[in-house]
Subunit: 138 residues, 2 copies
DNA sequence: TCTTGACTTAGACATTGTCCAATGTAGGAT
DNA sequence: ATCCTACATTGGACAATGTCTAAGTCAAGA
């Protein structure tokens, strides 16, 4: 993620303090924040940043393919900076935290032609649900 | 779905006009309405039914395992009455409609033990995304 | 350094969902 | 058949998440 800003600048992105802090917040291992969590953390470094800017920036990062949008539960969407590695998600049904996981087979090939109903299928995501060790203890 | 009401009565459900129309709306092939769509359709038969009741009833049907809650896009959740058959979903990225699909392999077995991170994994859902024939034409 | 179009802001608004106190009613008891 | 009462429904306030707009600000090229 460190060279993300360079890559984006190369694509004509205007580099602002706000965008920088949003990118910095997303940087990290296994981070899956909601938009408001990103806003809260960005505000620690740049107190006057507005919610609208965070939403805008996240939306742009998704469009640019740098970040994945994950909506697992009908609550707030979460943003996954690990967009360049093929992976899926393991979600705790109780607390909502997400882990990236890697699976052994290619799920796309599991959908036979007659089950595609004329769709142009372009993407597949596998979501495992369960209870995380933390919630299991409680 | 026709005997749904009987099954629920057997579980101590009090049978009201409101619950009946909600169940009737959900009855059908490949129906995946949002809560407000269910409310709109239920209102045609029972004009004074309230939104709260529709939400309550849908929530109960989910708890009872008669209906599946599907949240594919961070927009409104959709309700899938096909809960008794193992299936997955094919979603149109543009218009949001959902088809039930059946796949060839068991995705649960594709997640190796070390990738479970101590979770008690209980459920897996596979979501295919693409463009439906209708939207492709436009 | 100047200029300009892109970016940011605050807050109104929209959508989806939840909660609560007051009222109504299904179905067992009599 | 009627009554009782616990459970269900209602409407509207509220909450959470996300979108939009008009006005002000600023990054970066000339």
């Amino acid at each position: 993620m460190s060279d993300l800003l360079e890559r984006l600048r190369g694509r004509g992105w205007r580099l602002t303090a706000q965008r920088r802090v949003v990118a910095e917040v997303l940087d990290g291992d296994h981070v899956h924040y909601t938009a408001d969590e990103v806003h809260a953390r960005a505000s620690e470094r740049l107190p006057e940043i507005s919610r609208a800017t965070v939403y805008n920036t996240l939306g742009e990062l998704v469009l640019l393919g740098e970040v994945l949008e994950v909506s697992t539960d009908g609550r707030a969407k979460r943003y996954d900076p690990n967009a360049h590695h093929d992976h899926h998600h393991l979600v705790c049904s109780q607390c909502g935290t997400i882990r990236d996981v890697h699976i052994e087979s290619d799920p796309m090939s599991a959908l036979p032609e007659p089950e595609r109903f004329g769709f142009e299928v372009s993407e597949v995501s596998v979501t495992f649900r369960g209870t995380c060790p933390n919630c299991a203890r409680a």
